[in-house]
């Protein structure tokens, strides 16, 4: 177990190194980068230096005058020593900006995830126990429709129905017009109110795959021999399904849940952009399109670490939950 962990950790570090390098390479090769855009703007001011001079000066100022490889190692050193620098677009320290926006995304993702579990697992189990029944078809269609719905289309439909036609929610934004005049409880309610549509969007879009997964696993378990044995013993159907079968269905589910926990920090880029929720997804989208290297590097390497940690966590959890799995 320990050897396995060490090996996995070392591999993760190697992978992380390459991922960060690729991301840095991409950011540096971007034409019309942040610095070039800024130099162009500055050189257009009346009586200003020409574009080339500004470019040179700004490149030196932002540390882009080095080659890609030395620049990358500088960046890597900064990342590893926790010196993340200042965001170019938001002109505040990267960590500060990150801290401002991450919690909205985390709350949104967390609530959506819990709702997904609460909806997907019971429905998936029911669909599997009544395979090929009308319920099963309904659940399958619902799940596949959820998977097939493009986020932006579904979000727009929700906006049209609930914001425009019914007027229950604001079209976009996290806080209402009179947010500043509300007391603490009112502010909380206001934010919660604005998060309803984004969370519904997230849940409907992603509940499908979890539901399908639960159904497939449950079917697999229900087809196994020990379930037949349990039935043969004369146990009630309820006990067979919810005691014997369901527990074993949970094994792969736990790994999925464990694996997707870090993903909660990743934010929902499209949903946040559509609802103009100032979460990490939206912020990083703005940073990336503006070519803000420090922020994008921080966010993307953060995501990479989360993914690696998630994979590792899933493996460990699998071994913890299922004693039959021996990690070599």
């Amino acid at each position: 177990m320990r050897n396995f962990l060490i090996k996995r950790l070392l591999l993760s570090i190697l992978i992380f190194f390459f991922v960060v390098f690729i991301i840095y390479l991409l950011m540096r090769c971007m034409p019309m980068s942040y610095v070039e855009t800024m130099a162009q703007q500055l050189s257009q001011a009346p009586g200003s230096k020409p574009y080339e001079e500004w470019l040179l000066q700004l490149n030196a100022q932002y540390g882009l005058d080095k080659g890609i490889i030395p620049g990358f190692f500088d960046q890597l050193k900064n990342l590893l020593t926790g010196n993340f620098g200042d965001s170019w677009k938001f002109t505040v320290p990267v960590v500060q900006k990150f801290n401002e926006v991450i919690w909205v995304s985390f709350t949104m993702g967390g609530i959506a995830f819990i709702l997904e579990l609460l909806i997907a697992i019971p429905l998936g189990v029911i669909a599997a126990t009544k395979q090929y029944s009308r319920t099963d078809y309904a659940v399958t269609v619902f799940a596949l429709a959820g998977i097939s719905l493009p986020t932006f289309f579904f979000a727009t439909l929700l906006k049209l129905v609930f914001s425009v036609q019914l007027g229950w929610f604001d079209l976009v934004g996290l806080i209402g017009r009179d947010y500043n005049h509300l007391d603490a409880w009112g502010q909380f309610l206001d934010k919660a109110h604005h998060l309803v549509l984004p969370i519904v969007t997230l849940v409907v879009i992603s509940v499908g795959s979890l539901m399908r997964y639960t159904r497939t696993n449950m079917l697999e378990v229900l087809n196994s021999d020990y379930i037949r044995t349990a039935r043969a013993k004369g146990l009630s159907e309820k006990r067979v399904i919810y005691h014997h079968a369901f527990r074993n269905t949970l094994i792969p589910l736990v790994t999925i849940v464990g694996g997707s926990l870090p993903g909660l920090f990743a934010g929902a880029l499209i949903t946040e952009t559509l609802y103009a929720i100032p979460g990490i997804g939206w912020t990083s989208y703005q940073a990336m399109t503006a070519g803000d290297i420090p922020f994008s590097m921080f966010y993307l390497s953060f995501l990479a670490i989360l993914t690696l940690a998630g994979n590792l966590l899933a493996d460990i959890l699998y071994a913890v939950v299922d004693p039959r799995v021996r990690i070599a």
Binding site: L11, L14, I15, F16, F18, V19, I22, I23, L26, M27, C29, M30, P31, M32, S33, Y132, Y137, T140, V141, L144, A145, I147, S148, L149, P150, T151, F152, F153, T156, L157, K159, L160, V164, L171, N223, A266, L269, I270, T273, S284, Y285, M288, T289, G291, S296, Y299, L300, L303, A304, T307, L308, N311
Partner: protein
């Protein structure tokens, strides 16, 4: 024995479809037996000459229907109602996109125009509130004198400047004349004499007498040896012919080269008097023109706007017989764009999946077959790809292409390459996993013993066994690729105008006016997108069930 050999040979490719699954082995063995018997029967029937359409006894082998594994899969697939629904949806979408585009009478980027009456600034009108000065022929009355006159008007009847005394006479309301020792020098007035003939000017004598007569309410006046008639409206006629008219309203044309007709001027005066905001004027040639009148308090002027026909994009027209789904903001036919958009979305989906499948199969096959360090290397690359968040990367590249102003057509190509390149790791992982277990099977030992070359072993004997799973994974990822492309196009980073794609058609809803008022712009595109993806998912799901031997329906 020979018979048996032939049989084996004929069945090889089919048998290899599912060698992993032990459940299938007895089934195929039985089938082989049946096949053999059938073969014997057929030869017997051929030699005996009695045809096949006779009644068989109950335990006759010929009553058993024999299906190849492929036919079994097809049978299972078509028994799945959802899969059939999905297949139908896909067929409809394909016909709609690929044949619909040919049938549509319009082009993808054909712009429609319409004539629209737009109010355009035509003229401005002001009431003259400033005194104007006119100097008699051969006299001097400069700016200083004008200022002096302004000071005394209505208060005193004379002023002195440079030892000359000027007498001021109030001839009527807001009409003053100045004389020096009985000789008229100048006059100050507010009513303006407009000539009927364009470009005509009037002498001081004429103006003075006309204005005086107008102020006094006289009906005739004499000037320059002629007798003019003057009516209440201020029209001056000479021998029944209109010469000029007096009015305080100044109407100036805003566009050069247009002459404000007298009718218009009078109509404007009337409209201002009656506080009208709109009026219609029929010109001499019988053309009816609509005008709008707006008062601007800040400049104390009226602006006269004329409705002029203008050629504009026929944008956001509601569905009609001509445009079944209306037109978009650029005045292009929505239905046609939807068809071409479907073509782009589907073609991009197929090419992307094809690229990732080819890469994934080759790399996954190689990794799985060789194992050891090759496997390790390729799998670590796969891990790296898994770790790179794909959406942010595509967004960065999209923004970069925006910066480089890549041609939309080339951009589409790049998009396919990038999406294809980012998609291969999951396929490679699946292929490798399958091949790891397949290569331990006996038939691989057989290929090795036969001395078949390695590439042939991988691609002829291993990969065909992965095809079922490959088909399923490809069908499923077709759906997700189409969604990814649409999302990118929706964000403005994918397929660009003038090319249509279901995503960039929906891009218009970022304008909330379109969202609320023009459903026909975005709902059809969204529904098409959803249906296509749903079709792929239904079919993929059905295929997975059909290929799975444990599913016995």
């Amino acid at each position: 024995m020979r018979d048996n050999m032939d049989n084996l040979k004929g069945k090889t490719s089919q048998d290899f479809t599912n060698p992993v699954r032990p459940q299938q082995v007895p089934e195929t063995a039985a089938k082989r037996h049946v096949d053999k018997l059938l073969e014997e029967n057929r030869t017997a029937a051929a030699s005996g000459g009695n045809g096949g359409d006779q009644e068989y006894s109950l335990n006759d082998d010929r009553r058993v229907k024999v299906l190849s594994p492929g036919a079994l899969v097809a049978k299972r697939f078509f028994r799945n109602r959802l899969a059939v629904v999905g297949l139908t949806i896909l067929a409809v979408m394909f016909v709609f996109s690929f044949i619909g585009g040919l049938l549509s009478p319009y082009g993808q980027d054909e712009v429609f125009f319409r004539e629209e009456l737009q109010l355009k600034e035509f003229a401005g009108a002001t009431m003259n509130n400033e005194y104007r000065y006119m100097v008699a022929d051969g006299q001097e009355f400069g700016a200083v004198l004008q200022a002096q006159l302004g000071l005394v008007m209505g208060k005193e009847d004379s002023f002195t400047y440079k030892n000359v005394t000027y007498h001021v006479t109030e001839e009527g309301p807001e009409l003053y004349s100045v004389d020096v020792d009985g000789v008229l020098v100048a006059m100050a007035y507010k009513d303006i004499i407009n000539p009927v003939a364009t470009g005509a000017t009037f002498s001081f004598d004429f103006s003075y007498n006309a204005l005086r007569a107008y102020a006094h309410g006289e009906s005739t006046f004499q000037a320059e040896g002629s007798i003019y008639d003057l009516d209440d409206g201020g029209t001056v006629t000479l021998n029944g012919e209109e010469v000029a008219y007096i009015s305080r309203l100044i109407v100036q044309s805003k566009t050069s080269g247009t002459v404000i007709s007298r009718e218009l001027r009078e109509r404007v005066a009337e409209a201002i008097e009656n506080d009208e905001t709109e009026f219609t004027l029929t010109t001499a040639d019988g053309v009816q023109q609509d005008y709008a009148l707006e008062y601007d308090a800040a400049t104390r002027s009226w602006s006269i706007k004329q409705e002029t026909p203008t050629r504009v994009f026929d944008s956001y027209t509601f569905p009609s017989a001509k445009h079944w789904l209306g037109t978009d903001k650029n005045g292009m036919d929505m239905l046609t764009r939807l068809m071409y958009g479907g073509r782009v979305s589907l073609v991009i989906g197929f090419i992307v999946v094809f690229i990732s499948a080819v890469l994934g199969v080759i790399l996954g096959g190689v990794a799985g077959y060789f194992g050891k360090w090759v496997d390790n290397l390729i799998m670590r690359v796969v891990d790296v790809f898994y770790c790179i968040p794909s959406m942010p990367i595509i967004i960065i590249i999209g923004a970069a292409m925006d910066g480089m102003r890549v041609d939309p057509q080339v951009r589409m190509l790049y998009l396919m390459l990038i999406l294809g390149f980012l998609g291969w790791p999951s396929i490679a992982r699946m292929v490798r996993g399958q091949i790891l277990s397949l290569r331990e099977q006996e038939f691989m030992a057989a290929t090795e013993a036969c001395g078949i070359s390695v590439p042939r072993r991988i691609f002829r004997h291993l990969i065909p066994n992965v095809i079922p799973q490959l088909i399923v994974i490809c069908t499923m990822s077709l759906g997700s690729t189409i969604i990814t492309e649409a999302t990118l196009s929706f964000l403005g980073l994918g397929v660009k105008f003038p090319f249509a794609s279901w995503g960039n058609i929906m891009n218009d809803v970022t304008n909330s006016y379109v969202l609320t008022s023009y459903w026909f712009i975005w709902i059809p595109a969204g529904v098409c997108l959803m249906l296509a993806v749903l079709g792929f998912n239904f079919v993929g799901d059905g295929l997975r069930d059909a290929f799975d031997p444990r599913m016995n329906r």
